[in-house]
């Protein structure tokens, strides 16, 4: 039974979210730290270098790490405040167990572990191995991502393991594999500096990757021009030479129309297309009728602007195309990515200095975490779990029979649907808060309530974990050694600064003990994180994401190493494709014919307005950490409904008026923020908040057929003014909404 054991208010009173503020008088010991630990921010895929100040096993502050080559000391507000997740009053300091009617009570590690193992065994013997599922996340290091993949397959023996990367960049990963045979940013960001044209497609860079702004501005400082495609005038779009305010869900039409113009005006690299690609004819055929009038009608972007984008992109000598969730969170996310890649391939501007293409990975270890096997269809080294050769190789590395290696499981959202249908009865989760981060979360809540047994590993009691039977206190980013791979493909060292407090344990030690108690201990003999990494190196060897030549020492010596790095004397690969040897079976980059299709849900008379969702600069993902840091909460206290004044006027909505937003999935109230910086047919709500303030009550469960990413970025809604103004934002308790 995984209904809440007590009222959410009483659980919040005990476990938060509560807000941690720095003390005005300062934190004792900051001026004379015992250690200054060079590590990385725990949040986004930029993985900015930062120095943590340590005193008596406490993090007491930070210093910018100016020598780290990507960010050179630069940080966003989340990075500045990250240290306040330490010594937090909400921190879980011992295992807790649900007591119906009371909430959660402390328990010991032994009884907790015994109960977990007996429940796993009970469910699996009654309903089969796959009836117990695991959900993971890519804030975990490479070592832990690898370990979770191995743990689920050979200790838990389930095929049903997936991760929150499923709602991050899987569309980009799938598109990159189809086009290039490999899934990584093709270039590091230093190739932005002298790009003549930088095209940013569906990424609110200045709020979601603030430190990347510097690199984009560098291109502009050197005379480059910037194109931004976004339904909203974001802070980075404000600085663009050309802003294309696209109607959400119409991206592939825009890129198809630009390709049409490249072909029409012969802005093509014929040599590159002939010698290094396939299927250009299919790409041409698909866009043959995508003229400017058609494109304007579909995308809502003026024909002249689309033409201008083609004129800027087409003849340029150098360029860099970046995209992120704005084009990936769609039921045609993979199509959108491939339509962008078509533009890069058609002009042959890849694999050369200042000629780049990259998805901007969102999560801290969104890159490394999607390579080493805690994804339902994947084995380490970005191998395919259904490929017999790949299965044989990994089985040999793991010392198991290939027949004992489970096959492909369900993806994250489908896994919750299977729980809802009663097919999956038990769940273990780490580093994932699906009740806030998955779409259509009324269904997610119902699914959680149907679980027979649920164990969560986390350092705070996140909203999903409130449904757990047992919660094991795991470790913060700064409490364990490891590596992460940045959005550029640079493998960096996450350094342990302190031990977990109280009875909390490292995530690794928890998984190792569980594996041992499940009878698989012989496969999990590691003394250190480096031991796990060294096994990962071997497991990745020969895969597309080849880490074999990367060692902890080499990372230390070079402040990071770019994979692929197949041997210890290999320097790593900051820029891919210089040799024009793509990793597809035929060695060529592949064009794809991308025919436009509508999003999963379009507006109609009942739901006439487009709803899109996204992030704000002061919050991170489901807010498990950032909704507990006082100043980050104060910066943007509650989710607002961004709405154009013309749309607001047509519905009689005033600024700060509470507006009821309804979709086919649910309905919720948000204060209106009237701004001219959004399309007139679209409203925007950021998604970091739980409960009644959750935008994901409204979003749809339409999935991309290939990547299975949910369509967070577009659905149909209706808006009703309530007639009353929302209370002042400083009175909002949205950070702990029930």
């Amino acid at each position: 039974m995984a209904t809440l054991p007590a009222s959410p208010e009483s659980i919040i009173a005990q476990f938060g979210p509560s807000l941690n503020f720095p003390k005005p008088e300062g934190i004792p010991g900051r001026d004379e730290p015992d250690a200054v630990v060079k590590t990385h921010c725990c949040f986004c895929g930029m993985q900015c270098g930062i120095k943590l100040l340590v005193k008596d096993n406490h993090i007491v502050g930070f210093e910018p790490w100016e020598e780290f080559p990507f960010n050179e000391g630069r940080l966003c507000p989340k990075g500045v405040q990250r240290y306040l997740q330490n010594d937090h009053p909400d921190r879980l300091l011992s295992p807790i167990v649900r007591v119906q009617g009371k909430g959660f009570e402390k328990t010991g590690w032994d009884p907790a572990m015994e109960r977990i193992v007996s429940e796993i065994q009970r469910i699996q013997s009654a309903h089969g191995k796959d009836a117990f599922a695991m959900l993971s996340g890519v804030s975990l290091t490479n070592e832990k991502s690898y370990l979770v993949g191995k743990f689920a397959r050979i200790a838990l023996k389930t095929k049903n393991l997936d991760y929150n990367g499923r709602l991050c960049m899987v569309s980009a990963g799938a598109g990159n594999k189809k086009a290039f045979g490999l899934d990584r940013a093709s270039n590091n960001y230093s190739d932005l500096a002298h790009a003549e044209i930088v095209m940013i497609c569906g990424t609110n860079v200045s709020e979601t990757f603030p430190t990347l702004t510097h690199w984009i501005w560098q291109a502009r400082d050197n005379g480059g021009q910037l194109i931004v495609v976004d339904p909203r005038l974001t802070p980075i779009a404000r600085t663009a030479d050309l802003h294309l305010p696209i109607r959400p869900g119409r991206d592939s039409a825009l890129y198809g129309a630009i390709l049409h113009q490249l072909i029409k005006h012969d802005w093509l690299d014929h040599d590159f297309i002939a010698n290094h690609t396939t299927d250009f004819d299919k790409a041409c055929e698909a866009v043959a009728s995508y003229d400017l009038d058609w494109a304007e009608r579909i995308t809502g972007v003026a024909a002249e602007k689309i033409m201008r984008a083609a004129e800027m992109w087409g003849p340029a000598r150098t360029s860099f195309l970046l995209h992120a969730r704005g084009i990936e969170h769609h039921s045609k996310g993979v199509d959108n990515v491939l339509a962008c890649i078509n533009l890069v391939l058609a002009t042959g501007r890849i694999g050369k200095p200042y000629c780049g293409y990259a998805t901007i990975t969102g999560q801290g270890n969104g890159q490394g975490g999607r390579e080493h096997g805690h994804k339902c269809d994947q084995l380490p080294g970005n191998r395919d779990i259904e490929n017999p050769e790949h299965r044989r190789y990994i089985s040999q590395v793991w010392g198991i029979e290939e027949k004992d290696l489970p096959g492909k499981g369900l993806t994250a959202y489908e896994l919750m649907e299977a729980i809802h249908r009663g097919e999956i009865k038990g769940l273990i989760s780490i580093c994932f808060n699906p009740l806030v981060s998955l779409p259509n979360n009324t269904m997610i809540r119902e699914a959680l309530e149907k679980l027979e047994f649920y164990v969560a590993i986390d350092f705070f009691l996140n909203e999903t974990a409130r449904h757990a039977d047992i919660v094991l206190p795991g470790s913060l980013h700064e409490e364990e050694d490891g590596t992460a791979t940045t959005a550029e493909g640079r493998v960096v060292r996450i350094r342990k600064a302190i031990d977990p407090p109280g009875d909390a344990r490292t995530d690794t030690s928890i998984l190792l003990e569980l594996a041992d108690r499940l009878g698989a201990g012989e496969h999990f003999r590691y003394e250190t994180s480096e031991d796990i990494f060294n096994e990962l190196r071997v497991a990745s060897q020969g895969g597309t994401a080849d880490y074999f030549g990367i060692t902890y020492q080499k990372i230390e010596d070079n402040m990071g190493v770019f994979w692929p790095c197949p041997s210890e004397d290999h320097p790593g690969t900051p820029r891919l494709w210089e040799d024009r040897k793509f990793k597809t079976p035929d060695g060529r980059a592949h064009f794809h014919g991308i025919a436009y299709r509508d999003p999963g849900e379009v507006t109609d008379a009942d739901y006439p307005v487009i709803l899109t969702t996204g992030r704000v600069v002061s919050q991170y993902l489901s807010g498990t950490q950032t909704r507990r840091i006082g100043k980050l909460v104060q910066q943007y206290p509650e989710p607002l409904l961004e709405i154009h004044p013309k749309l607001a006027a047509s519905l009689g909505i005033r600024d700060r008026e509470s507006v009821r937003v309804s979709t086919r999935r649910g309905s919720a109230e948000f204060p209106a923020q009237l701004v001219e910086t959004i399309r007139e047919d679209t409203v925007f709500i950021p998604y970091h908040w739980p409960g009644k303030k959750s935008a994901n009550q409204l979003t749809s469960g339409h999935l991309d057929p290939v990547s299975k990413i949910p369509e967070f970025k577009v659905c149909a809604c209706k808006l009703e003014p309530t007639g009353h103004l929302a209370p002042p934002p400083e009175e909002s308790k949205a950070w702990a909404s029930v």
């Binding site: 600085t239 910066q635 004044p645 701004v675 001219e676 910086t677």
Partner: protein, 190 residues
């Protein structure tokens, strides 16, 4: 020993501000500020634009705040840094708050003291860069040499002369302007 680097200067380009507030949060970390930021980021007008602007103390060559201070609490040092009012002299009269052409000094109520940016004197005097300019992710705030700035931003030029009507104010902090500019005319209504 004072290790203040006289070859380094502050360069500010409010147009590059992305409104992230990293500078305010980093500034507030300084213990002498008691968790209050001495730098301020504000929307210009969110209804029309996400444009924000950022303001630090410009450290005037001939600081008006010091001139109007009846208690002689505000001093400019040999490096051109205009310091916050001395706590033992400040009488919280707000003359400086009203006089500053950039709107920088603030009277902090609970302490009844004027406080403002002192260009992270604890850091700059030790050869480090001010915290706000070290963390700023977009280059709206930059601290370094004139040569570094010229190399990084070939199409901009630093300006430290501001015209308010008939009065010209010269500052230690530079504002980045389009190439060729020599002064920033804030108000030309004489």
């Amino acid at each position: 020993m004072n290790a203040f680097r006289t070859d380094q200067e502050f360069f500010m380009d409010p147009q590059r501000c992305i409104g992230c507030h990293a500078c305010e949060m980093a500034c507030a970390e300084c213990e002498t500020n008691g968790q209050l930021p001495m730098i301020h980021v504000d929307y210009v007008d969110r209804y029309y634009t996400p444009q924000t602007s950022v303001q630090i103390c410009m450290h005037c060559e001939d600081p008006v705040c010091a001139k109007v201070c009846p208690a002689v609490a505000i001093e400019k040092d040999e490096y051109g840094i205009v310091h916050s009012a001395k706590t033992d002299r400040c009488i919280a009269c707000s003359n400086c708050v009203n006089a500053c052409p950039f709107g920088v000094p603030k009277k902090i109520q609970p302490m009844d003291l004027m406080m403002k940016c002192n260009m992270c004197y604890d850091r700059t005097s030790a050869g480090k860069k001010p915290m706000c300019a070290t963390v700023c992710p977009s280059g709206a705030l930059f601290y370094g040499t004139r040569e570094e700035m010229a190399r990084q931003r070939p199409n901009s030029t630093p300006v430290n002369s501001f015209k308010f009507g008939k009065q010209t104010v010269k500052t230690r902090v530079n504002i980045m302007m389009p190439k060729g500019a020599t002064e920033l005319v804030v108000d030309d209504s004489e």
